[in-house]
């Protein structure tokens, strides 16, 4: 095989071509054709990604600058790609899961008119392109281009059904919140440029290891980068956009808001681990934020009744777990969880899409129930997803989550506290996932008669991706079997050139105890959910704490009161006083003065020849004196 790495640029270019064809030809392409083009280019990228992965696994890597992107005296910046173990793994996730979701979309979006259908696929392709750019970029600027691109596509796709105002509101919210985070990222990049005049990963990281940054620089840069990550990866305080982002089509929620885009922050921190490892303070902040987000989102998910909202908060919570892993220096576990989470969360989102499809657009689980007998494939695959995310031994989620928990346990000092909170969150996860499963798929159907008549299993284009993702959710964990269970953690070995895991190794006996503990508790949580919700008949109005959770801790309301309202008041004030009275007053005043002045000056032209002559003489005298005395 010739060196496939020379063709690595095709991976992002193919989806870009797909975007152009679908975007430009949206008025002329038939639905089938645009679906085939959209999925086909991603499949081609996936195939190249697999070849690249194989090549990288056998020791290849690529650092290539294709052309000068920015070239000014003090800053040379090429359009660089970097393909190594970390990015090649993400390439597989993005193109692999992305392809399945494209295929799924061909069926899910089938009721759309052909023009919108092509538009939808062009957005999806553009998203895949941006995401690939993000992970393949060889410096922070190229990453930032992809970073902004995925934000844009997220905005476009959340607002895809733009005729409903709440969708466009959700899209705006996502975009604005992402922008707040992006500002942090951008400032960090500027800081790096100011310090060492380059943004190339290798240059920056070697500069960091040679202590060319002061402690303040490192802490500042990493904190700003982390602010970027909180925006993109939906962490406290910028997480509220993600649940609202569920306004978009369900495959979009699966692709962008669960499997790929929201893991961009994880990727960025894992990529910059050389920087982050140097700042104890930032790592502590990341740990705390990750843990707090995981707990908060999990608690909210318990009382949500919208099937996609539950999954959205679950995503936020799982991302919190990943940040917890990053904060404890357990980079491999974070990437591992990104991988497994991409499988089972995409699976569950697509499963929920299948349910919504069958229910004719209904998303409220209180109106579902007993769907298992109508849609067996969806039900079984969804159950596998729930088991995986809960961390039942043998499924992928178990290995990755266990690794995160073990890493947290091993942290010196407050490690046990972190572990306890994380474990509690894991129990909440199992509880709310199975609450969702039991309410939706077991018991009696609670919807209208018409809906019940309409219930059906989804077409093959939707169920096949579900089955593939279910299989991956089961076996995906076996690439990272820990040593305690007789594995050799292939993933950690694969990633070892880039990610030096700082996680503290525990005694095998300790690990066994932790695994047993979490497994028993998780099973107990599932049984509790089963008892409580197997014959769900609806519940009364939530009171007290439940009400607090149902209203998401009133975080949105607090943000509205603390940020939005004062900002609106301030802008109203600026509008009324500064703009209307000050600026408009000045501009209009100038106009009025000129108007008045010319009105007065006009009187001079009165048609009296004598006056003209007098003025002429005065003018000549003035000129005369100027000449004389100047």
């Amino acid at each position: 095989m010739s060196n496939i790495l020379e063709f690595v640029w095709l991976i992002p270019v193919l989806p870009l071509i797909g975007f152009l064809i679908n975007g430009l030809g949206r008025n002329n392409l038939s639905k089938g054709l645009s679906g085939i083009i959209g999925s086909g280019v991603v499949l081609a990228s996936f195939i190249i990604s697999v070849l690249v992965f194989v090549q990288v696994k056998s020791g290849g890597s690529l650092d290539n600058s294709y052309f000068d992107f920015i070239n000014i005296s003090s800053l040379q910046l090429g359009f660089e790609f970097k393909v190594d173990v970390l990015s090649s793994l993400f390439l597989l996730i993005i193109t692999g899961v992305g392809f399945l979701i494209h295929v799924y979309s061909t069926a899910y979006m089938h009721d759309e008119p052909a023009k919108d259908f092509a538009k939808y696929f062009s957005y999806l392709n553009l998203f895949v392109f941006s995401m690939l750019l993000l992970v393949m970029g060889g410096n922070f600027v190229i990453m930032f281009i992809g970073w902004e691109g995925v934000g844009l596509c997220s905005y476009l796709l959340i607002g895809y059904w733009y005729k409903k105002e709440e969708n466009t509101d959700a899209a705006n919210k996502a975009f604005v919140m992402n922008r707040i985070g992006d500002l942090g990222f951008l400032l960090a990049v500027f800081w790096i440029i100011a310090k060492i005049g380059s943004v190339n990963y290798d240059v920056v990281f070697s500069a960091a290891s040679l202590a060319k940054f002061s402690a303040t620089d490192i802490t500042g840069i990493t904190l700003l980068l982390f602010v970027g990550a909180t925006g993109k990866s939906a962490q406290i305080p910028l997480y509220t956009w993600l649940p609202d982002a569920m306004a978009g089509p369900t495959p979009v929620s699966a692709l962008i808001h669960a499997a790929t885009m929201v893991t961009a922050g994880i990727y960025m921190i894992a990529r910059s681990n050389a920087l982050f490892s140097l700042s104890e303070f930032t790592m502590t902040v990341i740990t705390i934020i990750g843990l707090a987000t995981a707990l908060l989102a999990a608690s909210i998910a318990i009382r949500q009744n919208d099937i996609k909202k539950v999954l959205a908060y679950s995503t936020v919570s799982q991302l919190g777990f990943m940040f917890l892993a990053l904060g404890t220096g357990n980079y491999v576990a974070a990437v591992f969880h990104v991988l497994t989470h991409a499988f089972f969360k995409a699976l569950m989102f697509l499963g929920s899409g299948s349910v919504i499809h069958a229910m004719g657009g209904e998303q409220d689980i209180r109106n579902m129930g007993g769907l298992h007998k109508h849609m067996k494939i969806t039900s079984v695959t969804f159950l596998i997803g729930c088991l995986a995310i809960s961390g039942i031994p043998g499924l992928s989620g178990f290995f990755s989550k266990d690794e995160i928990l073990a890493g947290a346990f091993g942290v010196h000092g407050y490690g046990k506290v972190i572990y306890a909170i994380a474990l509690f969150t894991a129990l909440l996860t199992a509880f709310y996932m199975f609450r969702l499963y039991f309410i939706t798929f077991t018991g009696k159907f609670r919807g209208t008669h018409e809906q019940e008549h309409h219930l059906h299993e989804s077409p093959a284009a939707m169920t096949i991706p579900l089955v593939i993702l279910a299989v991956l959710s089961i076996v995906g964990g076996y690439i990272g079997v820990p040593e305690a269970l007789g594995g050799n953690h292939a993933l950690a070995q694969y990633l070892s050139p880039v990610l030096k895991s700082a996680a503290h190794h525990l005694e095998h006996s300790t690990e066994y105890i932790l695994m047993a503990l979490s497994t028993i508790l998780v099973v107990a949580a599932i049984l509790f959910a089963w008892m409580k919700f197997k014959n769900y008949q609806g519940e009364g109005e939530a009171t007290g704490f439940g009400r607090l959770l149902q209203n998401k801790w009133y975080v949105d309301e607090i943000y509205t009161a603390v940020v939005t309202k004062p900002l609106a008041a301030l802008s109203g004030l600026l509008d009324r006083v500064v703009e209307k009275k000050g600026i408009d007053g000045f501009v209009n005043g100038v106009g009025r003065a000129v108007n008045y002045g010319s009105r007065q000056l006009r009187l001079v032209q009165n048609g009296q020849v004598g006056v003209y002559v007098l003025l002429m003489v005065i003018g000549m005298l003035v000129l005369f004196f100027i000449q004389l005395f100047a």
């Binding site: 009165n606 020849v609 004598g610 003489v617």
Partner: protein
Amino acid sequence: MDIKAYLVLSLTLFTIGIIGVLVRRNAILVFMCIELMLNAVNLLMVAFSKMHAVSPVMKASATYASDAQIFVFFIMVVAAAEVSVGLAIIVMLYRNTHSVDINFLNRLKN
């Protein structure tokens, strides 16, 4: 003769002309004052021509000291033509308004 006498005379004539243009309302008088100013300048020109003619460089030339004087003849010819046009306008003015009051020209305004 001293050049200053010519300057004073010329300046006096010119000032009389200006004042006449400004204060008089009879179009013919205004016109005459304009001619007065013109001729004041002519006088000045001839005087300066004579003054500069004493420079030795100019003496070498065959036609020294005569340029400005010839120029003044031209001015007088052109002025005569101008006078005829100006008088014609005044005649027309008189025919239309039965007056040579310059304030009738205020109609230029509209």
